[in-house]
Symmetry: C2
Subunit: 108 residues, 2 copies
DNA sequence: TTTTAACATTGCAATGTTACGATAAACATT
DNA sequence: AATGTTTATCGTAACATTGCAATGTTAAAA
């Protein structure tokens, strides 16, 4: 098949999976790291930072945007991208909760 | 193409992407949640908890294991699975660092 | 207005993922 | 030994992802 059976899972499970999936590629992790490193939202310049062709980078940016991990606003000729930390925080809090629960378990 | 250019990215970027990718499917998120909920490592019983056929579940478990998110030990007839919180913690700490950095930025 | 710059979109080839039936392997039970 | 239970593996069909060349689109610059 190849198609994920999303309707069999909860909204939360699908939400977490969607965000995690967007971060499931090193190029997209690299984009996030770059946006963090430059210490401001960056207009243009992302393509030159990655070892990938422009259409490929554009596609990765689109996926990060769809997942809510970055925001992009048109700034004249270029586009200004920055990290949306709210979405990252959803993942962080989710993992923190699991880790806390699991650490208190008597197991294996 | 379809093949990820892993060699163009750092080890850390590939590590984060690999772990995130493993969590990028609702069935695998559901497995993690179930392992957390039962409050102990569970032997068997995972297949019945998911709306998927046994070979599919087995495959998802394998991917979680490869990513280091769960550990499995043979327990007689069944196999005992539990969460490896160390791997989850790598992701959590990574996100926490990004969130902290980004929140202090004057941006957009 | 033509040109340039910065991204987006389209189309396609190569590869990866998801799901499951069939089958195998390993052990427990009878 | 024969049977059942549990998990893994194989094979394969359907679909998704990755990457890029070619081509649009939009707005600044000349």
């Amino acid at each position: 098949m190849g198609a994920t059976k999303t309707d069999h899972f909860t909204n939360k499970q699908n939400q977490i999976a969607t965000i995690a999936k967007a971060l499931g590629h090193p190029a997209r992790v690299a984009i996030i790291e770059y946006l963090m490193k430059v210490n401001t939202c960056i207009c243009g310049d992302i393509v030159n930072e990655l070892p990938l062709a422009q259409p490929t980078v554009s596609q990765h940016l689109k996926e990060l945007k769809n997942a809510g991990l970055i925001k992009g606003s048109i700034e004249g000729n270029a586009i200004c991208y920055c990290i949306d930390e709210k979405t990252l925080n959803i993942l962080k809090e989710y993992f923190a909760k699991i880790i806390l629960t699991v650490t208190n378990q008597k197991c294996c």
